[in-house]
């Protein structure tokens, strides 16, 4: 049955089935579209592992219902430019910017936002802008180097 409600994910249009309108965007991306880079760390908007872009803004996909983002453009890591992903990965290797890697997708999205001119940032405010993403391995110092070199 057609709902006439569409989502554009990484440039591709998807009609949202009726039973998904009131369910989380996070689950839709993972279960229906199998975009497994979007991680669930807390389901409460505290950890940032499920960060995606809605149009140009980074948001936690666990806090949004599919119906709420109808007609919007959703971007996950899979939809980021390949060269950005490559340079992020290279800088992680250079600076030791990850350990277990579970928070990495969220930090990748936030770094893409910071470097993509999505926001006005001085270097000092990176700490605050990134405070919504938790790395339990605790290597913020290295992530900071990665971001600084990207900017």
């Amino acid at each position: 049955m057609s709902t006439g409600v569409y989502l554009r994910v990484n440039g591709e249009e998807h009609e949202i089935p009726g039973q998904w309108l009131g369910r989380r965007l996070l689950d839709y991306l993972r279960h229906e579209l199998r975009l497994m880079s979007v991680k669930e760390g807390c389901g409460e908007g505290d950890c940032g592992a499920c960060t995606v872009f809605v149009d140009t803004e980074p948001v936690c996909a666990c806090l949004l219902l599919c119906g709420v983002v109808a007609d919007r453009n959703i971007t996950t890591i899979e939809g980021l430019p390949k060269d950005f992903r490559q340079s992020f990965a290279q800088l992680c290797e250079k600076h030791g910017g990850l350990q277990c890697g579970f928070c990495t997708p969220g930090f990748t999205m936030m770094s893409a936002w910071l470097t993509g001119g999505g926001t006005e940032t001085g270097k000092d405010s990176v700490n605050k802008l990134m405070a919504g993403n938790i790395c339990r391995c605790g290597i913020y110092q290295q992530l900071k180097k990665v971001i600084a070199e990207l900017i």
């Binding site: 497994m36 760390g41 938790i134």
Partner: protein
Amino acid sequence: MNSPSPFNTASFRQRALAEARYAADIIPQTAILAEVVRCPHPHALVKHIDSRATLAVPGVLAVLTAADFEGTHLGHIHSDEPVLSSVARYVGDGVAAVAARDRQSLMRGIEALRVDYEVLPHAITIDDALASPVAIHDFCADNIADKFQAIRGDWQAVKSRVALWVENTFETAAVPHAYLEPRACLVRVDGNRLELVCGSHAPSMMADSYRPIVAGWGSQLEVVTPAIGGSFGAKWGHPTHLVCLLFAQRLQRDVAMVLSRRDDMIAGRTRAAMRFKMRIGATAEGELVAKETVLWSDNGAYSLHGPAVMKAAAIRGDNLYRFSAVKADAQLIYTNNMPSECFRGFGITQSTFAQEQLIDELAHRLNLDPVKLRLSNIVHEGDTTVHGWKIGSCGIADCLDSISKRISQHRRGKTLPRNERYRTGYGLAAFIHCIGNRGYDTRFDRAFVKLAVLPEGGIRISSGEVELGCGTVEVLTKTVARELAVSRDQLEVVLGNTATGPHGMGSFASRTSFFVAMAAEDACRRFKQGVQRLMVEFAMPNPPILSELIEHARQQQRLGDLEVTGVYQPTGVVVPDESGYGNISAAYTFGAHGCCIQVDTYTGKVTVRQYWAAHDAGTIVNSNGAQGQVIGGVIQGIGFALTECASVAENGQLLNPGYLDNRVPTFADATPVEVLFINTFEKKGPAGAKTIGEPPIIPVAACIANAVHDAVGVRIYRLPITSERLWRAMNDDGSRLEPDDN
């Protein structure tokens, strides 16, 4: 099997590209979903479970209760944890489980389940549990799960030498591991063969403990390890695994479970909360002669590694100094809290909070410099410590020196304003740690690494150890590439797969890098012997070109000759006696930390401005990885010191089952950490290396507490050092400024 078995272990690059797949990422859409029904009371008898309405929900396939696991208990030391409980012993203890085709049916099924409880009196503090007439387990009337005692030296003789005793009581908090990836597992079924896919730091040992249970159902078990989103000691055996295994076996369907953050926080595990009554005695000149520890450790409802962690906390810190006599008396106490488990540092993180504050206090009372006091009492290479540890390479003196220099430089720099409101303070603390522990599991203390040439080219490195982000893949790749002179892109790594082997003990006691590198070196020796034999047989030139030799072996169908398993077993180590005496580790690691903090005296808030961490981890092999371990450990330690705590209300409910209220450090708390590696060469280690996994968290809380004392003259004996706790401590005597002053 519905799809081919996973997985080559994710490389650093795959993780960096967000291409690593964790357990929850590989659950097929067709898998049956399961969830555990958790008791809302801290202690309750399950009188009756009515599952008729649940089973009537369309899509619900099965319900399990305690009766389905009768006689089955988990536990590596004391087997006391049921898979599902007929007597629930903490809020979150599983009493039933439901399996359904989809999430909605699952949720409806759980809602429809009727559980009648008879609420029992509960005890959530150590004191309540010791005073309670109610036994938490039938077999343990006094709620004391385990005891440990150690006495060394001539106490009569040393007592007369002590000019000054410093003594206090210290408390550390239960802290959830709070790894970012909640527990998740997938069980794949193929007739009688069950395959458990889950992130664990000890897959082989876990399989060993589950296999007898699964064999009782007529099935076989293998464990496969995908990427692991953090463990820190927690991701060991867990009742949810057995629940999924039994569902899969009965339904003959793949079954998956992913815990919510809340369920993971209430029914995961925590660091054991501990109380230490500790005293240290010294001569007037500052010679440390005696130490006495009385320890109460909160086991929680079930034992897991509680007994081993208690023993480690009771005595291991003693080995840092040349005490003439020590005494320890420890008790492990059952409470109606979430079960405690090992957590980075294995109890020494807790005991160091007490010990290194007392050492500081002693220095102040004797009017000695705290660095000099430590330097004149630390152990040295060639020492046998009070508990029989044989000290090899030892860079602790250089660690202390370099921290002391950093602190003096910073102090002279006066970079921070010192005024009425903000007070600056400096602190330091030291530690010793082992690399593996021969006494941990007396059956096994080895590591294996297997090398095999793949038919499609390249060499596969297999090990039963895992990659937690500490660099196991890097260490293995680097070692084999170096020893065999092959390029890294010729190597692939498979870790933690019990079906393909080899067996591994898992990540304990900071052993992984040391053990796998040694085993890999041995594997390479054997591989080269195989190469030599084939070379002679094939009459190829010496030295052979490896790629040509392999090609020739492939044509001759002789690749099996190049399949070798290297082994490492530490030498000179013993299983310690009942009192914990004996050399448990091939080598020991050391370190000293220093910090500069600022206290807001209006609010009691502590901000760590600068941190220095000096470590003797032998010769550093993987510099980026080692740095990352230190920085990450320090940041985790800052959480342990200042903010993290499982807050349990009197009624046994966990008040902060999430990141919002159990605050782990974030980017905003990212204190600059300067890492100083004191290079030593460990003869027994791979290429001179030791290890660095746990050590960086060990001294942090003591280091910060010492700095707090330096800043405001108040000593904090209880973790975490929250703003409120420090403000109250500063204002207790009424002489200090009230918040509205000025």
